[in-house]
Symmetry: C2
Subunit: 227 residues, 2 copies
DNA sequence: TCAAAAGTGTTAAGTTTACACCCATGA
DNA sequence: TCATGGGTGTAAACTTAACACTTTTGA
């Protein structure tokens, strides 16, 4: 039996990726959403997506979509799952893998975002999205929250150096609840992969706050991270 | 712009599913694996898989593959993720979604399994599998363990009525470590969705052991489940 | 001098772990 | 009568949660 002919008796499908892009601003999480100025579903809100190309891995397609929209490379992305209902896209059958990304909202390329008609929308003010994108967002949020509790992936939402107050309000945004300041700092102090840089931030307070950073070497050795 | 023409400028791909089928026997977890008697990769071990068909959802394809192999329907299955590396299948490009299932090993259709040249293999004696199937198994195990801690999905590996000793050794198999009997029973007692049936099992001990079952109604109201 | 954010320890409550013996029964 | 698996409670260790005041400094 010939391998090619075995495979070719089966159907093929369009394969897409959709990106749930989380950013952090003004004490809350936001998503980068597209107000579609093209068909299908013109005028509605959707995630940023794109089709997988020939010779491109699905992961790479997700990275390409993110880079095309934000100008950012080497961003933490994680696949949520694949969505394969027959009628999920009413236009034609498309299977889509959802990925989420965490980005520092200050590093984006604003021109690119504008060119794509994309906007930051706060998590508690999300519009209804097309197709099964609402479900994708719900699933991504739940995976992201869970991972953020066990690994400091959320630090991608902050600048490289950050104050403990910033880190705390990031975690409050991710979890959607308040955290006790002293308990939070106690736990951070136990994580030797979050280290003082020696620099002082004077922008956010008169007194000044110590700046910290993630030490990725120490982090990879000790992968516990729990707030 | 016409929707169809927009879509049709993009490539299409074969879409497959691969099933990580967990069973429970003799105090350990096993996987149902196929010794391939067909190309590609004849003679090697692989997961049970199949191609998604036209007009069939990806979830349905996974269910079909499981039913074809085991004769079982309405089994708990969960998607792990999609695997989309370009060269993951050296024959031709195939994107595959991995699903895991938990089955009661006594309910399988042994003839069907034999017809597919499939065998139960203990988790700690797994052979090397083709393509990226080793990675799929590792990912499925980690997702399954995590879910088993928060929801009693693992109960699918047992008969409908089970003794607490059976339930405990199931959880020991899932976690790969021993659990204290009294602590285990204390926690089960707090879960009112695991209830005594009033029946007594006399097969596994002289004295007889109380049989329990999952009450799905109570369970859905109270979704905490932690061993 | 005061407003605003930074920084700092202790105690109580709750959860998890460790641990050993008697019970009922069929062979 | 004894071997086998079934069944039961308590105390120590550890983890988590609650809580309020002093410090620094620029305006």
């Amino acid at each position: 039996m010939n391998t090619k002919s075995y495979y070719s008796s089966y159907p093929k499908f369009h394969m897409a990726v959709d990106c749930i892009i989380f950013g952090f601003e003004e004490g809350g999480l936001s998503l980068l959403l597209q107000k579609r100025n093209f068909e299908p579903a013109m005028g509605e809100w959707s995630l940023m997506g794109g089709f997988v190309e020939e010779g491109e891995s699905v992961d790479d397609a997700a990275r390409r979509v993110l880079t095309n929209l934000t100008g950012l490379k080497d961003i933490y992305m994680r696949q949520v799952k694949a969505y394969g209902e027959v009628e999920r896209d009413p236009g034609e059958r498309v299977i889509s893998a959802a990925y989420y990304a965490l980005i520092d909202i200050n590093k984006q390329d604003k021109e690119l975002i504008k060119a794509h008609n994309a906007f930051w929308v706060k998590l508690d003010e999300l519009p209804h999205l097309i197709f099964d994108h609402d479900q994708m967002v719900a699933d991504a949020l739940s995976v992201m929250r869970e991972k953020a509790l066990s690994k400091p992936t959320g630090i991608n939402l902050l600048p490289e150096e950050f104050t403990l107050t910033q880190l705390q309000s990031l975690y409050e945004a991710i979890l959607g609840e308040e955290i006790d300041k002293r308990n939070f700092r106690k736990r951070i102090a136990e994580m030797d992969y979050i280290e003082k840089t020696g620099h002082i931030d004077k922008l956010l307070s008169r007194r000044g706050a110590a700046l910290y950073r993630l030490n990725p070497e120490k982090y990879s050795k000790d992968s516990k991270f729990k707030i």
